[in-house]
């Protein structure tokens, strides 16, 4: 686990340097060290480079890391639970369920805070949980268990939720609707550290739950009946994993919109290189997913610099082809 951790820090340092205003590595180092150790007194707002680093790029990269890590770990958990290597919160419609919840909150102004916690992630959580339950019911009805049934159901679920979101945006007032569009495309712009704190709270809850279920997820890949015969309380594990996946997806979507394919490609790559054991896979996929999205976001904001495009564009352009490759290769072979 040390390797992905170190790589993540290196990726963070590298990504900090790129942008409209390139910043040298030594400058990044001294600024970060100064901020962390408090040796440099911090009159933030005086030096533009320090402001760009600490108040623009650093929070944005941390957000990217949180979002990427969460999406990758949700992907890992859903893939084990549904025994489907193509399960990804975006592809099977969990993200759009969360987006619908968030859209309802935004447009009807439920977004005002309840107990100083924004209701937005709560509504997104509810939407994600709803679509997870629908998806699970669909996948467990009928004979056999088809990888393709799940994908088709995901396409349709996505279409239904998107239709609801479109409807809501059409009836909303145009100013709000424009903000909605930008957010739906998946964007990581403009977080501050208090936003990150709230996000970290949700992610922490989801992570703790998933971590306790890592070994049960290993056994669930053998099938629910076999897992039960090995002593797994399958119903309890499923509920816990659903709640964790909905917490993570809901929080991520409400802060950064819909970013696809991270939960698909990252777990697949980590399984190939490291292990399928969820006690290793979950944390490693988290680090790699975080790293991946930091890099993807850096690409998104530097390629057309000074303008930028949504990070979801980058993940879809990388993830889409990978998905098609997986769909057409023997990687879906089911060992009997």
């Amino acid at each position: 686990m040390g390797v992905p951790c170190v790589l993540s820090v290196l990726a963070l340092l590298a990504c900090l340097g790129f942008g409209t205003e390139p910043i040298t590595f030594s400058r990044i180092w001294s600024t970060l060290a100064g901020a962390l150790l408090g040796t440099e007194s911090m009159p933030i707002g005086t030096d533009p480079t320090t402001v760009i680093l600490l108040q623009v790029r650093l929070p944005r990269l941390i957000l990217a890391f949180f979002v990427g890590a969460s999406l990758a770990m949700v992907g890992v958990a859903l893939q084990a639970l549904l025994r489907n290597p193509l399960a990804d919160p975006f592809i099977i419609g969990i993200s759009s369920g969360a987006a619908l919840g968030a859209a309802i909150a935004l447009l009807f102004g439920v977004g005002v805070s309840v107990l100083s916690v924004s209701a937005l992630p709560v509504c997104a959580f509810a939407g994600a949980l709803l679509s997870l339950v629908i998806m699970y019911r669909i996948s467990s009805v009928g004979f056999g268990f088809s990888i393709y049934t799940l994908l088709l159901a995901g396409v349709v679920l996505n279409a239904i939720f998107s239709a609801f979101i479109m409807f809501l945006t059409s009836v909303a007032d145009p100013n709000r609707a424009f903000g909605m569009y930008a957010w739906l495309m998946g964007s990581l712009t403009g977080p501050d550290f208090s936003t990150l704190g709230v996000l970290a709270l949700y992610l922490g809850m989801g992570l703790v739950i998933l971590a306790t279920q890592a070994q049960s997820l290993n056994l669930l890949t053998l099938g629910e009946e076999t897992a039960r015969s090995l002593g797994v309380e399958v119903e309890r594990v499923k509920k816990l994993v659903f709640i964790a996946a909905a917490l993570l997806t809901g929080a991520v979507v409400s802060f950064s919109g819909i970013i696809g394919f991270v939960g698909l490609i990252v777990p697949h790559a980590v399984r190939l290189v490291l292990s399928a054991d969820h006690r290793l896979l979950l944390p490693a996929a988290g680090f790699v997913g975080g790293m991946f999205l930091m890099l993807a976001d850096t690409v998104a904001r530097t390629v057309l610099s000074p303008s930028e495009f949504p990070v979801g564009v980058v993940t879809a352009l990388v993830g889409g082809p990978v998905f098609l490759y997986l769909l057409t290769t023997r990687n879906l072979r089911v060992g009997m």
């Binding site: 489907n84 890949t221 099938g223 015969s229 002593g231 309380e233 060992g335």
Partner: protein, 275 residues
Amino acid sequence: MIDSRNVFPGPAYALRDVTFGYDSRFRPNTESVLKAVTGSIDSGKILGILGPNGSGKSTLLKLLARIFRPRSGSIELFGDPLSDLSQTEVARQVALVPQETMQIFPFTIAEMVLMGRFPHHRGWGWHWEDSDDSQIAQQAMDDLDVTHLGSRLVTDVSGGERQRAVIARALTQEPQILLLDEPTAFLDLHHQLDIARILRRLNRERGLTVVLVSHDLNLASQYCDRLMLLNHGQIVEVGSPLEVLRPDLLELVYGCQVLVDGHPQSGLPRVSLPM
């Protein structure tokens, strides 16, 4: 290893009026697959459960492993009602070898076998196996001759090798009772014989109670101490192979003519189809 359960005076399982149907939210009140099954399964013996397709054999096995719960009636495991035991408590005493093992993720054979230690772990999930666990898994892999496959992927070995690895995983649970659903269904003759001999050795040397579901009447005749013949979810006959594999009974249950003579070595019943 001395097994306190082996001195339990009664049967391994006692079933009373067990009825079960595959109800779901979408299809409630389906026809019962098992109808008021009453009987017992002796400890330390090999029992073969036979019967035509759809007679409820696999279902009965899954009820014994507590994967399903009966609609009505009771099942006792060594005198304890199965419904009072947790899934983990059952898994410490009963291991199931399912008919097919699905795996789409790249787990190795050694990792899969080690999963058999799960019911013996306590606490909150983030548990790593210790050297005792590895030793138990290693012993099971040696017994089933799959040690050399340890680092291969579950998806990359042959059906026979995977079946042996799954039995090794079941033994890693250190069960008193081993349940097997058609353990030889997809295997060639050589591997069928292998599995049958391994099961008999485990039974004779360690007192392991074995319950297996099979379509192979001849293999069951040779290797089982007792047979249970099911039809339409009910027990038709229980007894020794000689008592159960009678032409009249088999014709009644399977609905076709059969010939029964003696095995050239053992003299036990041998069932053949007519020309």
